[in-house]
């Protein structure tokens, strides 16, 4: 009897091996595959979801017109979404899977620098174009000819936050709390610190505290910060942590303002944070309230389809995907060999010098990083992100 069970188990093992070998067969030559490496689950699921929604909308647009025209022939688009669970190592796995198993031409995402920096290394090593919509850390594209982005960089965003806070709050001292396990958060925190001390003198960043990604209690760090009496607290953190930090700071008796960064700008921020976040400011990529032209059209269509105002990630994904598609068109033909095709797409993408995106005009100077404007928004009592100020690079 027991031996029987074991033999059955072996049969199951053999069968599953066989079934496994069958997966992944069947390829269609009239489609172009673009991979998406997104944060669909994990800490920031709304970010991945917004990206996926925007991409789906774009795909339907193009496929309903018969497909993307490359070299006189129309190709249907196939978007493949891989979940990177908002983890660095999963992002690498997802990128490898898209490259090796799905054979995509190019990859859009990951969004957060925490995932985009390691995934960028993987894509660069494997010679596949990667365009990140939302990753602002300089390291993502640094020395990586195959990696591009559709947003501004932290060395630009940091000074925006510094100057705005100094002017708006009349602040002399600042404190920072950031996630040390997150490339984005740590990088921006350090840039902010340098910039602020350059502006207000050494020692004016009175608190510089870190926390871990899975932390829920920040009371010890905030106690330290509040004891140092900063004029405001800078929180370059993901929106889910922002909600906890701001609330706990208020519980500990802090009454000053907070300044945030673009990672705040998710549609989910206000559901999580509620009244604690009202009135706070953060720098971001675009302001949905009061947009015009193509941007407004995008917002209205997105809103009609998915029932919420698209956040900056959605808009940036739209731009990043359009950049990729323009590069595929610019390649002039779809090569049979996937490696040659990837090379053609990269060269075409590197040749794009200017691009009119819905998040503003982008100028590329050959580094894969665009030059574009940043905006600062304030959270209104209704939970809307209201335009406050726009800062453009010289």
């Amino acid at each position: 009897m027991k031996r029987m069970t074991v033999k059955i188990l072996f049969a199951v093992l053999a069968l599953s091996l066989g079934a496994f070998a069958l997966i992944g067969c069947g390829k269609d030559s009239d489609t172009i595959k673009v991979g998406f490496n997104l944060e669909l689950t994990g800490d920031i699921p709304k970010v991945g979801e917004a990206s996926k929604f925007a991409a789906e909308m774009l795909k339907e647009d193009i496929n309903s017109k018969g497909g993307l025209e490359v070299g006189g022939k129309k190709y249907k688009l196939e978007f493949i979404y891989q979940d990177n669970e908002a983890k660095a190592e999963s992002a690498v796995n997802a990128a490898l899977k898209l490259i090796n198993q799905d054979g995509v031409v190019a990859i859009v995402g990951p969004n957060s620098s925490k995932q985009a920096i390691p995934a960028g290394a993987t894509c660069n090593d494997n010679q596949v174009v990667m365009v990140t919509p939302w990753s602002t850390n300089p390291d993502t594209t640094k020395d990586r000819p195959w990696v591009f982005r559709a947003c501004f960089l932290d060395p630009f965003q940091g000074p925006v936050a510094v100057n705005f806070a100094a002017k708006q709050f009349g602040a002399k001292t600042a404190a920072v709390i950031f996630d040390i396990a997150n490339d984005y958060s740590k990088g921006l925190a350090e840039i902010f610190k340098t910039e602020w001390e350059k502006k207000s003198g050494a020692g004016t960043v009175v608190g510089f505290e870190s926390h871990g990604t899975k932390d829920q209690d920040f009371s010890a760090q905030l106690t330290k910060i509040i004891a140092a009496k900063p004029d405001f607290i800078f929180i370059p953190d993901d929106y889910n942590q922002v909600a906890l930090i701001v609330k706990q700071a208020h519980d500990l008796g802090y009454k000053g303002p907070f300044m945030g960064s673009d990672a705040w700008g998710s549609a989910e921020l206000m559901t999580l944070c509620g009244k604690d976040c009202i009135g706070q400011f953060f720098s971001t990529h675009y302001a949905a309230a009061g947009a015009q032209g193509a941007t407004k059209e995008f917002i209205d269509r997105f809103n009609a389809k998915y029932k919420y105002v698209p956040d900056d990630v959605a808009a940036l994904t739209w731009d990043a995907t359009r950049l990729v598609l323009q590069a595929i068109q610019g390649a002039g033909k779809v090569d049979k060999d996937i490696k040659t095709e990837r090379k053609l797409v990269r060269d075409a993408l590197a040749n794009i010098k200017e691009f009119a995106g819905i998040t503003g005009n982008m100028k590329f100077a050959g580094t894969g990083d665009p030059q574009k404007c940043a905006v600062v928004v304030q959270i209104s009592p209704e939970g809307k992100f209201e335009f406050k100020e726009s800062v453009c690079p010289e």
Binding site: L40, T41, G42, D43, P45, K46, G48, E49, F169, G170, A171, K172, T173, I180, G203, V206, G207, E209, S210, H211, G212, K214, D215, Q216, D217, S219, A220, Q221, T223, K224, A227, A228, K229, D231, N240, A243, L244, K247, H250, D251, L252, G253, K255, G256, P257, E268, T271, L272, G274, K275, D276, G279
Partner: protein, 354 residues
């Protein structure tokens, strides 16, 4: 953290007016009266910080203690490390969320209820504890008991518990989606400020609740017949049924008690840290388990002492060092404690007969 000897800059008056946070917290004055005095008593600032951090540690330690109690109860009776316990705590928090939003009429089941938050809280607490206890008992009946009956190796039960935890976590993720849930505000927040040390009413509730739960469980285990039966089972599982004590009933009672406490911890945690996610129980569960072992697993006092000890070590480390060193220090200290006292603080070494 304290910079030089210069005066601490005043908060600009302009900003105090504009920020209008006083609106949201009407009980607080915009500028504490003693703020000006602090300039002269600089040495006092660290003292305030120390008291503040003691309170922080008591609050976080309470959660560890409440969860550790569940581990310790089940372990004391069954010698089973119920690794799913952290996830039962998570389920407790989610159940509390669904009960609360249903009662408040802002989501969940649409029963057309719009209760007063205070009343809703009074109902949410017992209902959540009962529901969470049901989850714990179901787990025991469907997963652990059949294995126990078959006389499987103890470690296979532990693996089953681990897997059950994963099912709870990921089942939650699959069913409810990846978006976080925000726990509604159930009580009006009151912030007391005692010479710079701030306490919210919630913090006091959490600390008091954990101490009351400890006293209650200590009473049940040491003074009642059920408790005597529980201790008996842990002493000799084979002789106890011969005394006419229903083994399975006692085990169910143990799971009810442990899971109900996890449910209570879930509610209190959701009120203190109102963002719920499917993996919230995993890390805190592992740490609470370690706390229970350091205290001496199987002993109620051990769970409480271990829980608060872990809370104090963690907050203490963060208060002095960069917060990333927290786990390193906390676990090293625990390792040293176990090294010196291999059975934990209150644990008694089991004698092996040759």
């Amino acid at each position: 953290m304290i910079t030089g000897g210069g005066p601490i800059p005043e908060v600009p008056a302009r900003f105090v007016l504009r920020r209008g946070l006083a609106r949201t917290h009407p009980r607080r004055k915009a500028v504490p009266r003693h703020a000006a005095r602090k300039h002269h008593f600089k040495a006092k600032v660290p003292l305030v910080e120390i008291f503040q951090n003691i309170l922080n540690a008591l609050q976080f330690g309470s959660f560890y203690a409440l969860i550790a109690l569940g581990y310790t109860l089940v372990y004391g009776v069954l010698r089973l490390i119920n690794f799913a316990h952290g996830d039962i705590f998570m389920v407790g928090a989610y159940l509390a969320y669904f009960v609360a939003v249903t009662l408040l009429g802002i989501g969940g089941l649409n029963l057309g209820l719009h209760m007063d938050p205070g009343l809703a809280l009074a109902i949410t607490v017992p209902v959540t504890m009962i529901l969470t206890a049901l989850v714990g008992v179901t787990l025991e009946r469907t997963a652990y008991r059949p294995l126990r009956r078959k006389g499987a190796d103890r470690l296979y039960v532990v693996i089953t518990a681990l897997m059950a935890g994963l099912v709870l976590e990921n089942g939650n993720l699959a069913l409810l989606g990846a978006s976080r849930k925000r726990f509604p505000d159930m009580i009006d927040k009151v912030i007391w400020n005692l010479h710079g040390v701030t306490v919210t009413n919630l913090k006091v509730i959490v600390i008091v609740a954990s101490i009351l739960v400890f006293l209650l469980l200590q009473f049940i285990v040491t003074k009642t017949k059920i408790g005597m039966a529980m201790r008996g089972i842990s002493y000799d599982k084979f002789a106890i049924p011969l005394m006419g004590i229903p083994l399975d009933t006692i085990i169910v009672v143990t799971f009810v008690l442990g899971s109900a406490m996890a449910g209570l911890a879930g509610i209190l945690f959701a009120m203190s840290y109102p963002i719920l996610e499917p993996y919230m129980g995993a890390l805190i569960g592992w740490k609470a388990f370690i706390a229970a072992v350091v205290g001496g697993i199987g002993d109620i006092r051990g769970a409480i002492v271990g829980g608060f000890l872990l809370g104090f070590i963690e907050i203490g480390v963060v208060a002095v060092f960069p917060s990333t060193l927290r786990d390193l220090f906390a676990f090293s200290v625990l390792l040293i404690i176990l090294w010196l006292r291999p059975t934990g603080i209150f644990g008694v070494a089991q004698t092996t007969k040759i």
